[in-house]
């Protein structure tokens, strides 16, 4: 059977999601798939569009990769706009030619509505929808003072924030009497206006613009119908969106009265071979301007094309939870009480700046809608009541009262039915979560990986964590954070106990706060905590027995019981003289040498008793321990940077050496790796490190919580264009917060994935100092930097410590007879078990 051709018009969020779903089904094999995208860039996350101004690139926002399309044999044609559909012949037309289809999917999204105001064609009148739009806004904002957004809805306020972030005086001009007229009522809108003005964005409501003319002090002048005016250098129109339905209209598909391509529950249009999904589609007279409903349509259509006759789109919830310019706003269901008989309960605390409104059914039993401004902490609970029709408590007002005034606690995850939607971006219900837990998932990170929950907008993170914890607990899985049988505490608890009580030894800690004698789980963890708090030598008598063998002997044990030696080579920069010393020492002790993946040299095959002798020689030549054995900083990889490289914009080697010297020796829950690249070409691979730094024209961009290794994770962009001082302060805080709060053996990547509130929360703690501990974290780091010592130097100088490095305490010259050797490629290596001696 020859394959049929499936054409998708539009490579936006929904179009891409549709393809992701389709390739998972057997039906994918029946089709040759072609995709046409008018934008030149591969589908990207429009929801997070504004992050582009924060330094994210198209690559950061991209939803897939060109490789993914190639691997799935999808013919992706970007920058090729479809200009016509010939339904009779089943072809489409582009400037490049005609293409035949068997099935056609319209995923053309929507376009920004620009009100018909005289003068709106001026070059500094812009819109806010695509990356190209953002480039235009950035160019227009360069060197000017003022920017106006027309439209005080959700997107308008986001655009205003963007203008502010570009350094402009930002104004919002709204036609309606309040902000966010669709989602909020007048009290909510008034409070939001007040808060936003406090943040420095000027809001002008009830203003109708009559014309845009040349300005006197700025580029433009907006004249309003009340004879007032406003001067500005640029205008961003954000006055609503309109479905991008021109193709459908000209090919005479059934259309809605006010636009939109009419679809049925199967996402099929009036032509059985043409389907529409996302913001261009009109279902039951409704356009959905959010991404989650579009994704649901995409899933539905993929199932339909796969022959699933039951698949149906049945509408979507339009509730929204946002942080606009840092102000919480939530709107749920029938926020305007349009249901007949609906009643309202309002709570308005002008002092605190919190407004909450519940819309409840006539019988008082169900929640129909809600509005929240200033504090979204009640959102999850209210949303679950509304979505699942859970019966309200007898005094429903307790749901929005502060707890001090008799407010009810949040709805426990137990009270949610199996069908309760936890993550609407990825359509994950409580039942789905129970399913993966029953199939063997035992932690939050696992559930996220399996279900994708909380990997979209992230709004469901807190709720997801509650559900997962409660379900694990129910199944008797120990959600117990106890580190082991000796301490009824998590690593974080132990850290606090040690710090607050000034405990300096494991004995004291276990005597006063634990039981038994400890084990190989708690001892190294406590050793690491003690080191972070007091920074005593790890071979101090009290600490020796706590360490893993690698830490005890400050070298990594190899498979035959010998050790490796890794001197620190900060930033990977090394003098010829030092290289020669490495060579000489290796030769003298017959050590196998290898360049590591961390830009330094590893010397393998030293016996226990040789270690101090070798280190004595290395230290004399100016080397220090490289902590290759410790849960601590490994290397700070660098690229050659502006000193030599013709593209470099900062001295990446210098910064890498500085960072390596600053953080060397810091004991942490797991090892730490960093890298510094001199420009965006990123030769140091900084985005795969716990801490990644990339030079920009204006300073440094900081990335955090990347990981190579077993489960690679791309680092998250954390802050941009930092000065040297800002960079160090941010890294100090991130590291110290990690060291204090992570679990044992938890890399920063997993820590971040389990951190409630995720990246945003970490930014608040570090960049906005929301917990007020910023200074303390920096001070703690400064103390550790000041008390650094090279452990090997201290050890070789102390005869008592050197005593530890005897293979056999009663036979110093005895060689371990099980260590047998052979030669390969001119170097000595252990004889393998299967090889003859």
């Amino acid at each position: 059977m020859s394959k049929k051709t499936l054409i998708v018009i539009g490579n936006g969020m929904v179009g891409h999601h549709f393809l992701e779903q389709l390739v998972e089904t057997p039906a994918a094999a029946d089709f040759d798939i072609k995709v046409f995208g008018e934008e030149k860039l591969l589908a990207y996350d429009r929801v997070h569009l504004s992050e582009y101004f924060g330094g994210s690139t198209h690559a950061d926002l991209a939803m897939g990769t060109a490789d993914w399309y190639a691997e799935n044999h999808i013919d992706l044609r970007l920058g090729e706009q479809v200009t016509g559909i010939d339904r009779a012949n089943q072809t489409i037309t582009t400037p490049m030619g005609d293409y035949a289809y068997d099935e056609l999917v319209l995923a053309t999204g929507s376009y920004p509505f620009v009100p018909p105001i005289k003068g709106n064609e001026h070059p500094h009148c812009l819109v806010y929808r695509t990356l190209e739009d953002l480039d235009s806004i950035r160019a227009s904002a360069d060197g000017v003072k003022t920017g106006v957004v027309v439209g005080g809805g959700l997107l308008g306020l986001e655009a205003a924030n963007a203008l502010k972030s570009l350094g402009l005086d930002a104004h919002v001009v709204e036609f309606a009497p309040r902000l966010m007229p669709v989602q909020l009522d007048s009290d909510g809108g008034a409070l939001l206006k007040h808060k936003i003005e406090e943040l420095g964005v000027q809001v002008h409501t009830e203003k109708a613009t009559t014309e845009i003319v040349e300005g006197e002090e700025a580029r433009l002048r907006m004249n309003f119908s009340d004879d007032t005016h406003l001067e500005t250098d640029l205008i961003v129109f954000s006055a609503g969106i309109r479905p991008q339905d021109a193709l459908a209209r000209s090919s005479e598909l059934a259309m809605g009265e006010r636009g939109g391509i009419v679809i049925n529950d199967q996402c099929t249009t009036s032509d059985p071979h043409i389907h529409a999904i996302g913001e261009c589609a009109l279902w039951s007279e409704k356009i959905f301007g959010l991404v989650a409903p579009g994704y649901t349509m995409a899933r539905t259509l993929a199932s339909v094309l796969n022959g699933d006759t039951e698949a149906a789109f049945t509408g979507a919830d339009m509730s929204t939870k946002l942080k606009l310019l840092g102000v919480d706003v939530g709107s749920i269901g029938d926020a305007h009480a349009q249901t007949p008989g609906a009643r309202n309960i309002r709570f308005n605390d002008e002092q605190a700046g919190h407004y909450r409104r519940m819309v409840i059914s006539e019988d008082g039993k169900t929640l129909l809608g809600a509005i929240l401004v200033g504090d979204n902490s009640h959102y999850d609970t209210l949303l679950q009541y509304a979505l699942n029709g859970i019966e309200l408590p007898e005094n429903p007002e307790t749901l929005i009262l502060p707890e001090s005034q008799g407010g009810a606690p949040a709805l426990g995850p137990d009270a949610l039915p199996e069908t309760a939607s936890i993550c609407s971006c990825h359509n994950v219900s409580k039942g789905d979560i129970c399913g993966v837990i029953d199939a063997g998932c035992t932690d939050l990170a696992g559930v996220k990986a399996e279900t994708k929950a909380s990997t979209g907008c992230g709004g469901c993170a807190a709720l997801l964590k509650n559900v997962v914890d409660s379900e694990l607990e129910k199944r008797g899985v120990e959600v117990s954070k106890d580190i082991c049988e000796h301490f009824p505490y998590s690593r974080q608890d132990l850290f606090n106990i040690v710090k607050v009580n000034g405990i300096r030894t494991f004995r004291t800690l276990i005597r006063d706060h634990g039981k038994g004698h400890g084990c190989d789980i708690c001892k190294p963890a406590v050793a690491s905590i003690l080191a972070t708090c007091w920074n005593e030598h790890i071979l101090a008598t009290d600490h020796v027995p706590l360490q893993d063998t690698n830490d005890t002997f400050m070298a990594n044990m190899q498979k035959n019981g010998t050790y490796s030696i890794v001197p620190r080579v900060p930033g990977g920069e090394i003098t010829p003289d030092k290289l020669i010393v490495l060579g000489e020492v290796a030769k003298e002790y017959n050590l196998y040498t290898k360049i590591t993946g961390g830009q330094r040299v590893d010397l393998f095959g030293a016996t226990l008793s040789e270690l101090p002798e070798i280190w004595e020689k290395l230290i004399a030549a100016g080397f220090e321990t490289g902590h290759a054995y410790g849960k601590s900083l490994r290397t700070v990889k660098s690229c050659v940077g502006s000193t030599w490289c013709r593209y470099g914009v900062q001295d990446s080697v210098g910064m890498a050496i500085f960072l390596e010297n600053r953080y060397k020796g810091l004991r942490s829950p797991h090892k730490l790796k960093m890298a510094v690249s001199g420009c965006t070409r990123e030769c140091a691979e900084a985005q795969s490190k716990d801490i990644g730094v990339i030079a920009t024209e204006n300073g440094w961009n900081l990335y955090v919580c990347g990981n190579g290794g077993m489960r690679p994770r791309h680092a998250d962009l954390f802050a941009t264009d930092l000065s040297d001082e800002e960079l160090i302060s941010a890294i100090d805080r991130v590291l110290m917060f990690y060291v204090r709060t992570a679990d044992r053996l938890q890399r920063t990547s997993v820590w971040m994935e389990n951190l409630e509130g995720g990246l945003e929360y970490l930014k608040q703690v570090v960049l906005e100092d929301s917990l007020g501990i910023g200074e303390e974290l920096e001070k703690h780091m400064a103390d550790l930097v000041d008390t650094y010592q090279c452990e090997w130097k201290t050890a070789v100088e102390d005869p008592e410590k050197r005593k530890r490095f005897r293979e056999f305490v009663n036979a110093p010259s005895k060689k371990d007879p099980v260590q047998q050797w052979t030669t390969e490629r001119d170097q000595r290596r252990p004889l393998l078990e299967e090889e003859p001696a």
Binding site: G516, H517, C519, P545, L546, D548, T549, N810, D816
Partner: protein
């Protein structure tokens, strides 16, 4: 016939490391001596050879207790061995050899079975 044994001096108290182990060479091969001063008895001696890899490393493992039993964790692949009985906690078919050990003044003595001694000599 009762096997002959001998109590060999393997090291002194000063050689021991509290809460940890040291390796000694005996006529029965390498032996790990552990000194856990906070329990009774405080001295343990087991073979230094990790039965899973055949490498001489057990004295360099972390000591502790699991469910009340004194244990050492192999530094290579982290299996636990009961210091009193030699039993591996993860695999009931595996055990390490144990030796009686005692403190005689300043000397640490380990009892080496004579049969092994003879075979070692032979």
């Amino acid at each position: 016939m009762k096997a002959r044994t001998s109590w060999d001096v393997v090291c002194t108290v000063d050689d021991l490391v509290p809460e940890s182990g040291v390796a000694v060479w005996t006529e029965d091969g390498p032996v790990a001596v552990f000194y856990l001063p906070h329990r009774l008895p405080a001295l343990f001696a087991v073979s230094h050879t990790d039965p899973f890899t055949g490498k001489n490393v057990l004295a360099r493992g972390i000591t502790g207790d699991l469910k009340g039993q004194p244990v050492v964790a192999s530094p290579l692949y982290k299996q636990h061995f009961n210091l009193q009985t030699g039993q591996c906690l993860e695999d009931e078919e595996v055990a390490v050899k144990t030796y009686p050990v005692l403190l005689d003044g300043n000397n640490v003595r380990v009892e080496i079975p004579a049969t092994n001694k003879e075979s070692a000599v032979a």
